[in-house]
Amino acid sequence: MPAAALLGVVALLVLIGPFAVPYAPEAQSIAERLRPPTPAHPLGTDGFGRDVLARLLAGGRVSLAVGLLSMAVAVSVGVLVGALSGYAGGAADAALMRLTELVMVFPTFFLIILVVASFGGSLPLLVLVIGLTSWPVGARILRGEVLRTRERDFVTAARAIGATEARILVRHVLVNVVAVVIVSATIRVGTNILIEAGLSYLGLGVQPPLASWGNMVADGARVIRTDWWLTLIPAVAIFVTVLGFNLLGEGLRDLLDPREERARRVPPQASAA
């Protein structure tokens, strides 16, 4: 899949790249500020004379880490709530669904602004708050899938031969809905990278001098009239990475769930781009 290859390249660059660049991402050199690309600085330098390539790679680590970790938080909570809610039913289902609605009613951005304003913008907090506000959609989808799977014959068969409820839930129900979880988790990474970038752009996310793609765009935007590439470079990095996760998610959906493909008559080429 081209999307997987694209993300592989991004991941490799971000993991290994920083070792190949001879500058620290925070090292300033006022004498060399706002240099266009040269052999010494392949992507030029920013307003503080920091190497743009070094910051781009370091910022990528931060953006990807926040995106992936907050996805992990969101998926953990979402699977827990969605699976319990769909499988248990009754009062537990009703209570969990009210909780889900409550989180959904908060416009994510405003809730994050509230929390960041109260506690400051540290990385672990950013991961937690993005993760803890982004699980309801996934939980609802999963609940629907679990509800449907719970009634299938092989679940009844498992119950008939005396399997425990926990075993049925994990071994028979969850394994059958894992495709839905993987697809929504993949797309969630891209969405969360966008949220982090937006917050960092506004000055509410990753705090300088630590680089993230979002605050690099904000730095670049101050000199966009003359040194427009300082905005363009991190912007392209965000776009390519998020696009990669969105395409990968769609590709996985077609791959893992052929039923849906037929039902919705989505042509296979449509998502292979």
Partner: protein, 317 residues
């Protein structure tokens, strides 16, 4: 019918209480108390510190503080730490700006999205359909602030055909919609862009599903004109999923307003919220967050009502 809607409205009240409690708790958990933001405690003696806290009502029990704060939002006695203005008045001044941009954006997005989706649905797998599907994924991968900066650089600074920021106000506050049109073009486009993409995708699927339905074949078979079939039989049936997706994306408007208003210098709710957050102006943050939640609950209610119009079967329930 009216009984049903009364019930729906009543259901949202516990939700509002829960949201306001959550906001209140987050602010209580925040390190330091608001009095330390007004004056550095190091320069005050114990008595002055206690007086300051008492003047802000911070010495009272939490339930009393909660009720007073919520009442204070409504009667205007809750004021910004910075400007001393009632928070509800700040919200009132900002709302027309956010509402204008948001509703215009949603309108443009719905028209463009449904038109594109319906057009692509005519030939699934065709060139237009594939182009739309690529465009949709790309559109939702572009951060709002990048799109804003790009359009600003090209249309306001490069070509100089549109103003970069601001609006034309009437008097000290408010918005003059006619004189502001050039100022609103870019913010509305940026707001509409990602929503149009999402609406287009769902409209395409909805129209596609309606197109292959039996009754559409019957309508074609009995010789109705293609335009009539499209309007009365296809779009009418595709309306429920379209209403549903428009209702789902409407709350996203508010999140988008935060970035759009900051970049285009529009004095709306989103910009107030960001400015207040950066200055730790808690009464304003609290008011805007609560307002945002109220708006989402309201949007859900409107969506439910719209379902009834789109599909009479839903009305009966």
């Amino acid at each position: 019918m009216s009984r049903y809607w009364l019930g729906r409205v009543a259901q949202s009240i516990p939700m509002l209480v829960a949201v306001s409690l959550a906001v209140f708790v987050v602010l209580q958990l925040a390190p330091g108390d608001p009095s330390t933001l007004l004056a550095d405690p190091a320069y005050l003696d114990d008595r002055q510190r206690a007086e300051l806290r008492a003047s802000l009502g911070l010495d009272e029990p939490l339930p009393v503080q909660y009720v007073r704060t919520m009442g204070g939002i409504l009667d205007g006695s809750l004021r910004s730490f910075r400007t001393k203005e009632p928070t509800i008045a700040m919200l009132g001044d900002a709302l027309p700006v956010t509402a204008t941009v948001g509703l215009l954006g949603l309108g443009v997005a719905t028209l463009a999205g449904v038109a594109l989706g319906a057009y692509a649905a005519r030939q699934p797998g065709g060139r237009i359909d594939r182009a739309l599907s690529i465009a949709v994924v790309s559109a939702i991968s572009i951060p709002t602030f990048v799109l804003s900066l790009l359009l600003l650089r090209v249309f306001a600074e490069g070509l100089r055909v549109l103003p970069a920021t601001g609006i034309r106000p009437i008097g000290s506050s408010g918005i003059d919609p006619i004189a502001s049109i050039p100022h609103l073009v870019l913010p509305v486009l940026v707001t509409a862009f990602p929503l149009a993409a999402i609406i287009a995708r769902y409209s395409r699927d909805a129209v596609r599903e309606a197109l292959v339905a039996e009754h559409v074949r019957t309508a074609e078979g009995k010789g109705l004109r293609p335009g009539t079939v499209q309007r009365r039989h296809v779009l009418r049936n595709a309306l429920v999923p379209i209403v549903s997706v428009v209702g789902t994306v409407a709350p996203l408007l508010l999140g988008g307003s935060v970035i759009v208003e900051s970049i285009f210098g529009l004095p709306g709710v989103g910009r107030i919220a960001v400015a207040a957050a950066l200055q730790r102006d808690f009464p304003v943050v609290m008011t805007t967050t609560l307002f945002a939640a109220v708006l989402v609950i309201f949007a859900n209610l409107v969506t439910d009502i719209a379902y009834g119009y789109a599909d009479p079967r839903i009305r009966l329930r």
